[in-house]
């Protein structure tokens, strides 16, 4: 498939990412909250090896002002608390009680389902940790403002109803033909909980998942961070690219084009590319991106891509060069936007590793303290 021609208006750009050398690659893998580390120092791991896991993300802490509610001094609070740290409580269950004689009996109740975490005598407070599973987060999408329509009319533009399951990137509302901002995409996967015609918003409730971190990189565990994770290291190639979308991904590399000038179109992607990382040349087309998603391609390394294609592929605008979680196929660009040939040396180096499992991450922060997207080709575990 032939790609679009270079720009007629603007001159060509200089400067692309070029070939690289073998180096020691090290990546730290950490949980968001403390949990259990599942690997040992010296262990050889594959990218999919789970390094650490935490089953329960801590719920919201509720600080109950027991002294104030009971009308007693903070130091007296432990005398009146009916629960001990570690006790389970339900919403409305009595936490503390004080018989104040003529003033009557005063009670203090739990604001949530959860566990009593601490009794702070000095402050006259009790901390109850809410059960995280009871507190699924809600994402709010302001459909009326995005489509510039009155809030009470949003149902006419919605493609979903309460109770529908939606996937991140799915169109949930569409404006009339010719309107500027004509589509609203679901920012998260979940269930539509509420359509509010008073404010013009749609609420999506998201499911809970345990948090895990995998090794991402094939290599050796060189350091363990108790409760948090581990560092993995390998000898190999590390390519810092220019721009990317999507988070961490890995899979065997397949060279999907003939050379660094070639365009990767949809017909070049087949069903057996499931789970693979594809190497393109100067451009990956919008059709190819969609085809890659259909067949389950993990990642694409290309010289260029049209910015508009990446926007429609991810369902959201690329705004400040801070990316990372928006796509199910990770795309890493080495030369820029539009049709831009990959550096010939880099293409040849990457192509020579066809079949090897590579890791890549599209996360990009262009700004200072920059995070560059990367392609990692581990050759052997670190000694």
């Amino acid at each position: 498939m032939e790609g679009p021609v270079p720009s007629q208006v603007f001159p060509e750009l200089e400067g692309t990412v070029s070939a690289v050398q073998v180096t020691l690659i090290r990546r730290e893998r950490r949980l968001p909250f403390p949990g259990e580390v599942l690997v040992e120092p010296g262990q050889v791991v594959e990218p999919h090896t789970v390094v650490a896991r935490t089953t329960l993300v801590p719920g919201m802490p509720h600080v109950v002002e027991v002294a104030r509610e009971l009308g007693v001094e903070p130091g007296e609070v432990p005398r009146y608390v009916l629960k001990a740290p570690g006790d389970r409580v339900t919403t409305g269950e009595i936490l503390a009680r004080a018989d104040r004689g003529l003033a009557g009996v005063r009670e203090c109740r739990s604001p949530c389902d959860g566990v009593v975490e601490m009794i702070l005598a000095g402050h006259g407070q009790v901390l109850v940790r809410e059960d995280a599973r009871k507190a699924a987060p809600v994402v709010w999408v302001d459909v009326a403002r995005r489509l510039d329509v009155p809030p009470h009319r949003i149902r006419a533009f919605l493609r979903v109803r309460e109770g529908d399951e939606v996937r991140a990137g799915e169109v949930i509302a569409q404006g009339m033909e010719g309107m500027m901002a004509d589509r609203v995409y679901a920012p998260a996967t979940g269930v539509v909980e509420q359509v509010d015609t008073r404010t013009g918003g749609v609420a999506i409730r998201r499911p809970h998942r345990p948090a895990e971190v995998d090794a991402y990189l094939a290599g050796r565990v060189v350091e363990v961070f108790p409760q948090w994770g581990a560092a993995i290291a390998a000898r190999g190639y590390e390519v810092a690219a220019l721009f990317g979308i999507g988070g961490e991904a890995y899979g065997p590399l397949r060279v999907a084009v003939g050379g660094p000038e070639d365009v990767l179109g949809a017909p070049a992607i087949g069903g057996d590319d499931n789970g693979k990382v594809l190497l393109a040349g100067s451009l990956v087309t919008g059709d190819a991106l969609r085809r890659a998603r259909e067949v389950g391609v993990r990642g694409i390394i290309s010289g260029g891509a049209h910015q508009g294609d990446l926007v429609s592929f991810t369902g959201r605008e690329i705004v400040v060069g801070i990316t990372g979680q928006e796509a199910d196929v990770t795309v890493v660009l080495t030369a820029g936007f539009g049709r831009r040939a990959m550096d010939a040396g880099l293409f040849a180096e990457l192509a020579s590793h066809e079949g090897r499992v590579v890791s890549l991450n599209g996360t990009t922060q262009v700004r200072a303290g920059a995070v560059r997207p990367e392609v990692l080709i581990p050759l052997e575990p670190a000694p």
Binding site: P32, P58, E65, F337
Partner: protein, 606 residues
Amino acid sequence: MKGAVLGLDVGSTTTKATLFLGEGGRWRVAGQATAPTTVEAPVEDVMVGTREALHRLEQSAGVALLDERGELVRPRTGDRGVDATAVTSSAGGGLQMLVAGVMREITAESAERAALGAGAIVVDVLAIDDGRTPVEKVHVIRNLRPDMVLLSGGTDGGGVSHVVALAEVLRAARPRPRFGEGFRLPVVYAGNVRARPHVEEQLAEDFVVSFVPNLRPVLEREEPGPARQEILRLFLEHVMAHAPGYPRLLEWAGGTILPTPVAVGAAVRHLAGKWRGNVLAVDIGGATTDVFSVAGGVFNRTVSANLGLSYSSPNVFARASFANLVRWLPFPVSEDELRNWIANKMVRPTVLPETVEELMVEHALAREALRLSFREHLRLARELKGIQLQRTIADIFSPKVSGAPLVEMRTVDAIIGSGGVISHAPRSGQPLLMMLDGLEPEGVTELYWDRGFLLPHLGCLVESDPELGGRLLEENLVHLATVIAPVAPRARPGTQICEMVIRRGGTVSREIVRQGDFRLFAWYRGEVVDVELRPARSADVGAGPGKLVRTRLEGGEHGVILDARGRPLVPPEDEGLRRDWLLGTMEFLDAYPAAALSTWRGDRAG
């Protein structure tokens, strides 16, 4: 008075050096030079770029500033060195702060304002009600690498649970600072005083926590002052001291490096005081557009962190839309071409436009960045939200909404345009057009151009030497034009919307203003003209619909401009008419090379 003052601004992409020389009571800009900022890898020493800029300044201005070891000579001895420095910095994207508050619209917004007022870029605003899970919040914080955190939430004596929850998320994330490994990230806590022990318990181990009075002690009052001062102190003593090369620069600066926006703010405040009017100033950078206003004596600053011309230019595209951008371009371009060009600008922020077309795309982006960031300024520069205002019978008929804007364009007396794309524009017609089209002044407004980007230096100088700084400010700002812009909603093109009675040099003349007019009066600097503006019943020239305005005008470099193209400014729908309309104003102000403009007129004719 005789002397030499060095202005240094270490920006996110370039380091700018300006030398001011004074002799016999007269001061002048003796030279300017720039060099790439070197705060990041591979160099990682801000002094390398600073010395390079000074070497270039020495060559271009024919002066000697450094000694043999590359150190700044101070005080000036003979003809070598300087007497004073004015140093500002927004390197590494300036002071990047993460802000957290309980409710997005209440304490988090107050905290955001406090951080902005202290010259920070707010990289994210965390709130209990922002729709993100704690896991996502942790990931966001880890990815952002801020320089400092401002944690607020809760009124004094109110609930503490949510603030504690935010502190827990922060502890779990343990964000890495951008500069200096082993350096503990500063957290300014400005929330409910009752939550302090919990916050300390959560954060003391991994962070440097300072406690300041609650910035929203009660719902009805905001007290950002102590938080702002603490942020500035920590910026200088903590963040800057760890940035590579900064300890040396701090010595050169005599111990004070101001965040660039703080210095620009000082300049704007000084001018508003001197002119006794309402002043609006804009500074378009690579990453952000800062808007400053002094209205009714109240100073406000907002940073549109994602409306800059390089790092965040795709966001300008996304927010403005393709249609709104191409309306400022006189040549055809496809959406793909424009998107790709802008995205390439984002990943290669130091590349400058090479052709007139590229320059025009930058200027189109600048117009839209101005339009959008001014709108954000109106959103943030407003009364407090979340409070019940006392209502009277009269309010039922004209309800006063909590959160009313503090700035109104028709009451703005002067606008100052600054920042790379404006300050370094090759022709003076370009900043004029960007400000006219992007900000749409209303009524009678003077437009000023910060040519050469001197505001940061001079704002810094105003703080240390108000007399000298103030004088240099007034001498170096270019008065581009005084604009008369009548606002006549729903007036059709060609209808009379205003009459002007002009008293000039003893003669009186009348001019009829029609909707759609764009005219120039050749009254230049030094000439004062008395003008009476008599608007039609529905038209407003600054005093309200149909109300007469008498004013004394002084023109600028482009004289006095009558802009009756309409508010809001809507170009003709027909593509040919739109291009003529656009090329007309560009030619009129001699904003771009005539040869290029005539090509596009020719294109259309052909």
